[in-house]
Symmetry: C2
Subunit: 352 residues, 2 copies
DNA sequence: GTGAAAGCGCTAACAT
DNA sequence: ATGTTAGCGCTTTCAC
């Protein structure tokens, strides 16, 4: 069933059918109804490809989840406590705004090509990219297409430095620095001075910010920053577990750990158990992201809440707005974080 | 940049460019290379819409997550322990097979329209539907489009009954009945006879199967089925928590609970805590799905594992196969489940 | 207010 | 082996 069939049945021309579909003002109510009737009776749906070819939008946004750090297609991306709720809210919001979401995961440098293709092949009107920013050059080449783009967890300053602060791109972040400060201050307030840091990937904006805040907050409180207390957990549970096991095996016994995300805190918990360390009696622990599981743990995990759903919703709204009127300006918004105190921290033991 | 531009630059006609792109055999290697060179130099990507219009596929599959049971757009669908890993593996697999995934959530009867539209508007080559089967009529109207369709968690028998076992649809299930039997038998083996069932939605295949198995297994072991021991938890944590609280408040004290999914088991745990019931000392509990959180709980939750990732991967492979050669037959595969025994069950107390 | 006709970028049957 | 041409289904000037 094509628009021409509808036209014939309604006794009008294809142009008029098109006018009705696209809600042109200069169609008399009667003609409109006549055409609509035929359209509905036959469940006619205009071919999107033809519409796009004739100059319309796709009403589709791309969602690209970058995860080049995982060596393999580990099938865990969307179960990740950060990505899952992100995808969730983004799809919902975009759907509610009348947009489909085209999703693609990026595991390798090569996969970045898929993002560019989605644009070049005219599959999407705009895109949202969430993940590591290791590949700034790739991102730049995408931004250069001049299509609407929303970047999650990218450093605005760095983007500006690379001349990517064009009016077709927007950035959405969380206040990771402030959140980390709060967490570390909380630990210091409890009397801890030997505070280890379980670091995430430093090629992400949030990973770097959380690290910077840890280092600076210690110094601000007169506690020397000690490199040997920094453990790389790659934002993932298993590497965190392994690194911390090794760390503990070496005899180190800081009184508190601050993990740059909950996944790694979970890994820490596994390691603690193995070494007979009780939380919070023997060691205090703070996570980041406040994922669903944090509150269900025993003891419940103190963590820094990141308003992922809000960020995601905003990302969807922003990209849709940009798609609809492409003459907006470069924008960067940052969402507040908040320390959620639960049961995984206690006063530092004497003498520590 | 259009194929004509490439043609000019390469000194050939558009047809030849098209032949190169579509890997026609009758293009001499030299011509092919000449054209490819120009294509690559200019990062040319054929316009997908034009290709589709001319008869090619979209290389896109639709993924529709149905959740009409949730009254509101609760933004939790993809964090759901069942859907999240499902989306995960499906996107990955489809991507690896060269397909984009167009995702849309269905919250209302009205949203079903979106599925039909995705097909009618020629946005996708095939679709995967996962969720409740309340709306069999809606599904039927989609199946009637004659496009490749994979249904997750639908009853093959019922589909046949409604003449939806066409050769364009395939079904993928898990062996929920067998899994539930195993769980209930485990409880019975521990000496439990007062076993309550926390039921999921009965308009899903799995919800019904898990229920049926509970009922039948009791009977098979000479334990009468008692309606008052069945609690409706709607597959969700909160309703489960509320229903069980009410149930316990009424004075009922079965020695064991079998929940039709882990979400509801979590709700049960909340209720137990409130009533001062310890797991497994005072009450035994088994969940279903073996979601990520099950093993992290204290005590770790015994649960029936469902190979969601395998099912999802198979769904992706099946739909892609169907899209590529649409002359397959109706198929239905069922994946095995397995009881994972952890720490949430103990022997039934004497006299119970 | 409505229709005719050109054009969007591609593929494929046909012709050579 | 390659070019010519006729669509694919729609939107949109441009006439009337």
């Amino acid at each position: 069933m094509r628009s021409e069939d509808i036209a014939k049945l309604a006794g009008v021309s294809r142009s008029t059918v098109s006018r009705v579909i696209n809600q042109y003002p200069n169609v008399p109510e009667e003609t409109r109804r006549k055409v609509m009737k035929v359209i509905e009776e036959h469940h006619y749906e205009p071919n999107t490809n033809a519409r796009v070819l004739a100059g319309k939008g796709t009403d589709t946004i791309g969602l690209f989840v970058i995860s080049t750090a995982e060596q393999t297609r580990s099938n865990r991306i969307y179960q990740n406590s950060y990505f899952a709720p992100f995808v969730d809210a983004l799809v919902d919001t975009a759907n509610a705004l009348g947009y489909y979401v085209l999703i693609h995961t990026v595991y390798s440098e090569e996969d970045f090509q898929k993002i560019r293709q989605a644009f070049s092949q005219k599959r999407i009107d705009g895109g949202v990219i969430v993940g590591t920013q290791k590949n700034l050059e790739e991102i730049r080449s995408i931004a250069q297409l001049g299509e609407p783009l929303v970047l999650i967890d990218y450093d605005p300053a760095e983007l500006a430095l690379h001349h990517m602060d064009s009016n077709t791109v927007s950035v959405i972040n969380s206040k990771d620095y402030a959140g980390s400060c709060e967490a570390v201050r909380h630990l210091i307030g409890l009397g801890h001075r030997d505070i280890a840091f379980i670091s995430g990937r430093l090629n992400t904006h949030s990973g770097r910010e959380r690290f910077r805040a840890y280092e600076n907050t210690l110094k601000e409180h007169g506690i020397p920053y000690r490199e040997e207390l920094v453990i790389d957990g790659d934002f993932r549970r298993k590497p965190s577990y392994e690194a911390i096991s090794a760390f503990l095996a070496s005899g180190a016994r800081p009184s508190a750990f601050f993990a740059a995300n909950d996944e790694m805190a979970l890994g820490a918990l596994d390691a603690f158990r193995e070494f007979g360390l009780r939380v919070p009696e023997d060691v205090s622990l703070i996570g980041f992201d406040d994922s669903q599981i944090a509150s269900r743990l025993t003891p419940a995990l103190t963590s820094v809440r990141v308003p992922i759903a809000d960020m995601s919703r905003t990302a969807a709204e922003t990209i849709v707005t940009m798609c609809r009127k492409p003459n907006s300006a470069f924008s960067a918004v940052s969402f507040p974080t908040e320390l959620v105190v639960r049961e995984s921290c206690s006063d530092a033991p004497n003498g520590r």
